[in-house]
Symmetry: C2
């Protein structure tokens, strides 16, 4: 990594152009069957009034801690959120003021109430991903990277369970795939498949209190299983193969 000539003990960091390091978070959830992303409205220039991903400076903490802290500040506490590093965006000029390295994180959240504006954010709100464009800075690209990661990740990991409540039905889980992929898997085959993948879901023995709103039997309730990867994977129908 750091080479000898450039980074001697006597090296003075202040002799180099300053670089700011931030984390920006693509937080996804599903509301009314639609994939939503958490955005904040910028109050200051540049890009005042535009929507942006929540984020902030990295302090004396790990990057993961920084992401978790920022997310908690924006939305109130988030106990069971899945967080993972996505990619780092640091091209010159992405922020007009100075060089900013943004370490993007991806978060999968279950359905939550409206975000509590506890932190810095002037106004944080959920926005359907279809209508989230024209974001500040290069956040359109960061969001796109997060969406693609999420779509790929629920294929071979049980992370779709991070979008639903602790106990859920197979139909609710299917709703996650429908919302994230933008297309509905075949209900019957999906059902059998989910139950056949070892460790994906665990039966609770309970069922829902009533059937669907427009009829239908009560469904069994499941919990997330202990598998960390899905074998075999659930592959997206499209993505021309």
């Amino acid at each position: 990594m750091v080479t000898e000539r450039e980074f001697l003990d006597g090296y003075d960091p202040r002799a180099y152009p300053a670089v700011a390091v931030t984390v920006d978070i693509v937080t996804l959830t599903i509301r009314d069957g639609v994939l939503n992303v958490l955005l904040v409205e910028r109050g200051e220039q540049p890009h005042a009034g535009r929507l942006a991903l929540p984020g902030g400076f990295v302090r004396e903490e790990t990057l993961d801690q920084a992401a978790r802290r920022e997310l908690a500040e924006e939305t109130g506490i988030l106990p069971r959120v899945h967080l993972e590093q996505l990619a780092t965006f640091g091209d010159p000029g992405r922020d007009p003021r100075m060089r900013v390295m943004s370490i993007a994180y991806l978060a999968f959240a279950p359905h939550l109430p409206e975000p509590t504006v506890g932190g810095d954010a002037a106004a944080a709100r959920w926005v359907p991903v279809d209508t989230a464009s024209g974001l500040a800075f290069d956040h359109d690209a960061i969001l796109a990277a997060g969406l693609e990661r999420a779509r790929a990740k629920i294929e071979y990991t049980p992370l779709a369970t991070a979008f639903v409540d602790d106990e859920f039905t197979i139909a609710q889980l299917r709703g996650v795939y429908t919302a994230v992929w933008g297309e509905e898997p075949h209900a019957g085959n999906f059902h059998r498949k989910v139950l056949s993948v070892p460790g994906f879901v665990a039966d609770t023995g309970a069922t829902t209190q009533r059937g669907g709103e427009r009829g239908g039997p009560r469904s069994k309730l499941y919990r997330a299983g202990d598998a960390r990867i899905l074998h075999p994977a659930l592959l997206r129908p499209s993505l021309e193969r």
Copy 2:
């Protein structure tokens, strides 16, 4: 990302603790059937004398450009190397001198001569990944991340072709999978599979000049095809399913 209160127009970056930003590169190649990684020997403290991943400071350039530039400086020019961002390592204390954000890159290189020590590196050399441990800083973890990425990536992309010459035989391609995965796919099934995946390889019409060293027919020569993803994928035999 950057919030209003913390990053006003009058914000003074020098008021914050300085952060250095580097790129570190996991460069993989195959030498004599063994997966090797490019390492440099550190001349200065900390970790003087230990091996480390090559890398250096990010200048006024994109992160991809920084990685490509550093790699060229360490190894002489690299025309057809595949480079991709891996992850960012920036926990406090990973460098004892100051906060250093390292944006790790992964490079797939065809077999190359010994690296030309054109750049900063005191001594750069290829090291079999099996024997590459005890690296400086947190480079063991970065290397591990690179290896796992490489192993997964050749499953569903044609990037294994980045490890071989422009024209190659199926057996050479199989050697790539053997070296990267650490286990040999079944020769006959591998052969048929590679030819059956659309766009993985393209027939050149030519064959090798002679058969194997210990006998066997001449093999056909192929070039990389135009596929960017492999359908269906080549899955690792192990990785208990």
